[in-house]
Amino acid sequence: MKKRDLSYDAVMGRKNEIMKASLGIDYEDYIQSPIAFDYERMMAETGYTHEDVIRIQHETKVGNTPLFELHNLTRAVRGISPPGKGARILLKDEAANASGSFKARRASISAYEAAEKGFAGMISATSGNYGAAVASQAAQRGLKAIILQEVFDSRGVGQPEIIEKGRACEAYGAEVLKLTVGPELFYLLLRTLEETGFFNASLYTPFGIRGVESLGLEIAYQVRTDYGKEPDAVVITHAGGGNLTGTARGLLAAGCESSRIVACSVDLSGLHMASDTDFNRKSFTTGHTGFGVPFATWPDRVDVPRNAARSLRYMDEYQLVTQGEVFYATELLTKLEGLERGPAGNTSLAAAMTLSRQMDQDQIIVVQETEYTGAGKHQNSQLSFARENGIEVRRGDPAENVPGESIVIPERLEQVRGKGQDMDSLRLSYLKNAVRHYPMEKWSPSDIEFVAADINKGESWVRQQMAEMQSTAEADH
């Protein structure tokens, strides 16, 4: 047999055939142009109804997690809010899923699909909780699992949070490929898929997103049952977009059309995601703007031909919080509510504390996830590590926080403010990215229709922006 060329360019060149073999989805069937595809048909044709998803997840210890009211935190927020303000804060305790995070929802349908289709194992490239989720779900379905992780810098120093996630993967019986910093993770993923013939448990397949829809359905059901109304806002930690997309789709399927979908990320602007030296200057390895903004403004930058996670379709608002605000929120959750949970999962809690102050007391805001905590995945581990890496850690006004240089932990609840992002400028970035992928002159009416739906804005707005981009380009000429 002819030996395969394993060079970077050769493997990347075989991307499409490797993807097709490892997923069993023929994306060509849905693709309409270099930018547009039939998203809803792709989602529908996964072959899994919501009833199927719930049944499959129940088999492997996923879903039906508790929804708690945070009485003490709500009271504390009301204490610093204008009269009548301070919405009730509810928390969906996703740490209760097998493997300790909502990512089990995302892995569960892929594991079921892989087992049904007769794959011997599944592979995922992730430094997040998803690795442990894949490993745990694979273990329960009798599948092998390989997790590729970006763990350490060129000095061999690993991020404590990621080391813990790697440990968890190994504990569930997975093989863990531990790598230095770089986007070549994708190259090695392709190589490993090709070598093993395993299923590609990408985060961004329709199976992954379908699996998260149950989270939105449960929130709708639980809030209606306990409070007799729909949630007024649901705050969702946002990185690659799957958490937001799946939850929002579930809420919509349950008829919660007026619930405000709020994305939230930790602000790490200024740090380069592929930089060897910046790697260990981050105290959050996910849920931050380094993923959240690029994935919102161009979802199709992933390990599958078209991303099923399309956050701008569903996002009403996008809040940024600082690392210090999230660590502060994590401590409050622990000391006021008696729940010790991992900091990354509390990103949306920090934003909810800000938003609650602006909302009426009879309104409900849902923080839609938590994650497990432990050595490495703990605010003390992460702050101690930050100090060792020369980051200044102090109490003060979080507005003084500089990503990669300082972490300023609020002194008082009033200082937790977050920062809203301008949605239209995110939409415009998406539009510019789309034009970069496919010149505007070639766009058909169905491309415009797709883009308008993908950024949740009218076609007339899209046409107007296109005309402005056109005239700017001509003026530059």
Binding site: S7, Y8, N72, L73, R75, A76, G79, G121, K144, A145, I146, V151, F152, S154, P160, I163, E164, R167, E170, A174, E175, V176, L177, K178, L179, T180, V181, G182, P183, E184, Y187, L188, H272, A274, D276, T277, F327, Y328, E331, L332, T334, K335, L336, A375, G376, H378, Q379, N380, S381, Q382, L383, S384, F385, R387, V393, R394, R395, I409, R412, L413
Partner: protein
């Protein structure tokens, strides 16, 4: 040098891409260093540290690389106390 016995749990290291073979879009600091893999498994034959060896991983795959560590352990912890965290939640009027 002492031989490590076959069957021992070890960590191997392998250079996947030399700096000049890496992706073209990298920032300068990352471009200068190789792309390195480490993986744990059971040593297949007796060998010395630094030798090129084969291992069997937890899922039974055989991989080759340089023998780096015997009984690789997880040493991550909760870090040194961060006193700034201790009073949070005790100050708030809950």
């Amino acid at each position: 040098m002492e031989k490590i016995k076959a069957g021992t749990w070890v960590e191997i290291e392998k250079i996947i891409l030399q700096p000049e073979q890496r992706a073209s879009t990298l920032p300068e600091d990352t471009k200068k260093v190789p792309y390195v893999l480490k993986v744990n498994g059971f040593l297949l034959e007796d060998a010395e540290l630094g030798a090129i060896v084969s291992i069997r991983t937890l899922i039974g795959r055989e991989l080759e690389g340089t023998l780096k560590t015997v009984n690789p352990s997880y040493q991550h912890d909760f870090g040194k106390v961060v006193p700034e965290l201790l009073s949070i939640g005790l100050e708030e009027d809950a």
